[in-house]
Assembly symmetry: C2
């Protein structure tokens, strides 16, 4: 528990997730936009009775299986599918010491799904349809899960900051003072450093090393990665952090 709430340890998880997210985006960018993947009922011939999109179907199948492997027992993992549709784990629960204050669940995966499919996918892929629906959705699931973990990790950040200054936070929470809570958890210097680091990483990992590191054929546009964090990941993390705090006492 001590380790989970240590800010340095939290930071190293978040920094490591940046790599995972960039790697996943690079993998996704190999395939075309494949918009059909994201349209509800577009596969109703192949999946009779299924009202969601092809991606929703792949997500449910993946999460059903991962739920059996205990994924959603972990306090930093939230499913995209309806939790009541998921089976129980086959592994006995790990003994997690309760770290977060209950009820901790603030699931913003629907918002992640929205910006990812509507804005990020069209920005990193070639337009059109290459029929690789299986590969496409597999890469989407990996990216969505990594982004989801990144955003929901905000609850650990909140808890850690809360414990470091209980009185100040309690005052703001009791007054339902969202503005103050936001300013208490916002560190502009940390955010600026994050965006700089992210740009450097995306540029680094996205280079085509096959040619000895040419800058021409970037596998994913570093600007899109930075914008995704700036416009979505960081603001959504703050939503999670504030909502968590408001329910904290």
């Amino acid at each position: 528990m001590a380790q989970l709430l240590d800010l340095n340890s939290i930071r190293s998880v978040l920094v490591r997730l940046e790599d995972t997210i960039i790697f996943s985006l690079i993998e996704r960018a190999q395939f075309s936009c494949n918009a059909r993947t994201y349209q509800p009922c577009a596969f109703s011939n192949e999946l009779p009775g299924w009202q969601g999109s092809w991606l929703d179907w792949i997500l449910l199948g993946t999460e059903e299986f991962q739920a059996k492997a205990r994924r959603y027992q972990s306090p930093d993992e939230y499913p995209f599918s309806n939790p009541s549709d998921l089976p129980d784990p086959v592994l006995p629960p790990l003994e997690y010491e309760p770290v977060l204050h209950e009820p901790a669940v603030t699931n913003v995966n629907d918002k992640i799904m929205q910006f990812y499919t509507q804005e990020i996918v069209p920005s990193i892929t070639k337009p059109g349809d290459d029929l690789n629906y299986g590969s496409t959705a597999t890469r989407d699931v990996e990216t969505l899960q990594a982004v989801s973990r990144r955003v929901h990790y905000g609850m650990f950040v909140s808890e850690s900051k809360y414990r470091a200054d209980v009185d100040t936070f309690n005052t703001a929470i009791k007054a339902n003072d969202v503005k103050t809570l936001e300013s208490l958890i916002t560190k502009p210097q940390v955010e600026a450093a994050l965006l700089k680091r992210l740009e450097r990483k995306a540029r680094h990992y996205g280079q085509d090393e096959s040619q000895g590191g040419s800058m021409h054929d970037m596998k994913v546009d570093p600007e899109v990665v930075v914008r995704m964090y700036k416009d979505h990941v960081i603001p959504l993390t703050k939503v999670v952090e504030v909502e968590y705090l408001l329910k904290r006492i």
Copy 2:
């Protein structure tokens, strides 16, 4: 079809898979060795009646689901599980023009599983057990599938080389002359360039860019990646290439 058998196009798939394989190894290296994951029957309490390892169980669940999404209809995808244990796709088959000569199936996934679990995992991970069995096996599946695709792509390489010089190959095939076939498909200069490129990529992607690119904390040892290709991936690809050719006429 023309594109699938164009050597430049094949080469770009193989070069791209190098990135995927290195990324997957980096992701796997975050977790401990977790040897229990690979031991048959080690999870017999949690999975009553299951004789395989935890990884085998995760592989079967993943492949069952991916089979529904048409993965194993693709001529370059081979399952690790017994194909007769896998369900039919829910998507109609893509109209692949037959590219490979039938019977093309030379599945060496058991050999890939062996070197990966016995040699690669212990070389890239911390020793011991961190209980992250779900995450571990998920990363293993990604790596194994990428390596499998890389190795089995050898059949396309063979077919392409065969078509470029039918008479020479036919003579060697008819004489069951494995030595000559091996020398016909071996390009020492290409292999040397591949290993050099691989080392550069592993060094590049494995740098800890969080610190601005320090060379100290490599996320995966470039030597292990190079050795994996030199001792296993390249020789196994040749096995696949030669076996494919021997069945070609």
